[in-house]
Amino acid sequence: MSRNVRTCLLSSLVALVGCGGSSASDDGSLRAALLTSGPVSDAGWYAGAYDGLLLIQDSLGATISHQQTATPAEFDEAFLAYASSGYDLIFAHGFEYQDAAVRAGSQFPDVTIVVSGGGRIADNVVPLIFRLEEGSYLAGMAAAAMSETGMVGMVGGVAIPPAQGTFRAFEAGARSIDPDIRVLETFTGDWNDVAAAKEATVAQLSRGADVIIHNVDAASFGVFQAVREAAADGRTVWAVGMNSDQNDVAPDVIIGSAVIRIPQAFLETARRWETGEVGGAPIYASIREGVIDFVFNPRLMDRVPSGIVERIAAARSDIRSGALTVPRVRFVEDEVGAP
């Protein structure tokens, strides 16, 4: 019996490989894939990437595929699977993929890998750098304006450079409004642990912080929940969304979101790939391209102090023109004079 099973498995394996081979695009249309190391149901960082993949499918007629890798051990396998089955463009959505991407890139020179927030560069491996610091800076301005206690908080997942960068910028933005503001910072060590993010937020709120920004994935629900419970207890407290426009996720407490319009950035990258412009250098996506921004929650505008909207608009155009430089953590190799 075991032999039968083995034969059966083997033949289905062959069938699978056969399928993969025959469906490799013969019509020359783009085949794009997405790797995420967390669930795309986070209404944030990964959800935006998934929407981007769908946008590439709709706008460019591309064949698409998405895979969620569970552990770093699967990164290489996932690249191998896509590269060997005819995918042209692989979006690896996170800093954590950068080393595996470089390994896969050297093995499959015909495949282009775009690493969101990556730091390593090869001919066919390019970082897609979101200048989320710019949106985060504006969020910091809004937070400081909303704060009545003079204390705001930041709750992060793992202290990777892109996440630290957004926090440094948030702090700088807050200080530009209130030089004496106190800024708390907590990393929970996990992007999806809702309970941990909630308790980290509870701890910051109990210290007196009254506006909390996050940089986590699905765990952001815990941040919003903690703020909502404090609001239900009669405190005036706010949360700030991050990565996607999260204003609808908890519309009663999210005052605004520092957004990356990830779908737009992905589509633009895919278009540039089609014209052969992607390779050897990082792609930057910032306020200038309209990819990064800070958006107030329209339902809570009556709670926003007067004047701050105008000050944020002014800062936005200063960032765009280059008159204002937002602090960030540099992590892209050989980065000099980057925009």
Partner: protein, 308 residues
């Protein structure tokens, strides 16, 4: 730390410790019968989603806990069939149940609530204040102003301890975990005991998951179990397979994670990872015999087949 802050810290410790305690108490019983269920994580995430779906469907957090428990049992029954009944390797089967549980719950959640996810507004399990006990200074509100699931853990720990060490059924259960052949010779139905303890472990892990979704987070998120099943298994070791000590060990793990959040909120610039690692170091010490005697049930993780 002021007294008010101490109280807040203790409250957070208990909130973080309770799901670990529930899952670890169930695992204590199954390990005492010789079954190490690494698939606990699968039962917890199943319980979280089952709890969320049930609470939405019945518009009741209490019924959500029931459906969460059922989902936990469902995940554990997969383990029971393969690892206990068919005698497959317990570690491999448990890993499969964990990975399968994380994947299945993700797929169901995305099918039900949309691929890119949203925060659910679940009916939540409100804290119930125990009269008098909650007024004890400092620890009162931390221990006795919690969700009902916390009180379940407090009651289960001494009950299970009494059951294990002072009843004939408890003796039979432990005999199954120490020397299944001898237990069978003495007339104990070994497989039946192991199937029952495994499902009981799944039941409590499911309640732990439902607690996470309904009492703590107020929503479901993929992967929200975040390794708590594995931590619970470490808690069992630190608690030396004794339900009362397991409850204390779970609260200690809860305190360790609460501490790192509080220290960071205080603005102390130190490596928080040390505090994350602390309970594990203690667990290692327990295994090495530095924190009292810790000995696993002799037949733990060994597949067993009837000799009749």
């Amino acid at each position: 730390m002021s007294q008010a802050e101490l109280v807040l810290f203790l409250e957070a410790s208990v909130r973080l410790g309770i799901p670990l305690a529930l899952a670890a108490l169930g695992e204590t019983i199954s390990e005492r019968s010789g079954v190490i269920n690494i698939g606990l994580e699968g039962s917890i995430i199943g319980g979280a989603l089952g709890g969320a779906l049930g609470a939405l469907a019945f518009e009741s957090a209490g019924l959500g806990v029931v459906t969460g428990a059922a989902a936990g049992v469902l995940a554990a029954s997969v383990f029971a069939v393969f690892a206990v009944w068919l005698g497959a390797d317990q570690i491999i089967t448990g890993t499969a149940v964990t990975i399968g549980g994380l994947g299945m719950t993700g797929a169901i959640y995305q099918a039900r609530f949309g691929v890119t996810g949203t925060e659910l507004s679940l009916p939540t399990l409100a804290a119930v204040r125990v009269p008098l006990l909650a007024d004890i200074p400092i620890v009162g509100s931390a221990l006795f102003d919690q969700a009902p699931t916390a009180y379940l853990a407090y009651l289960l720990a001494p009950t299970l301890w009494y059951f294990l060490f002072h009843t004939p059924y408890g003796l039979e259960l432990r005999a199954v975990g120490e020397a299944p052949d001898a237990a069978e010779a003495a007339g104990v139905r070994v497989l039946l005991v192991r199937l029952a303890t495994t499902l009981f472990g799944g039941l409590l892990a499911g309640i732990a998951g439902a607690h996470l979704a309904l009492a703590h987070a107020g929503t479901f998120a993929e992967n929200m179990s975040a390794g708590k099943g594995f931590i619970a298994i470490a808690v069992v070791v630190l608690g030396r397979w004794n339900p009362v000590l397991v409850l204390l060990a779970a609260l200690f793990f809860g305190a360790a994670s609460a501490l790192q959040f509080f220290l960071q909120a205080l603005g102390l610039d130190l490596a928080y990872q040390i505090f994350l690692a602390l309970p594990y170091l203690l667990t290692l010490a327990a295994l090495a015999g530095w924190v009292g005697r810790a000995r696993a049930p002799a037949a733990l993780a060994l597949p067993w087949e009837s000799k009749r």
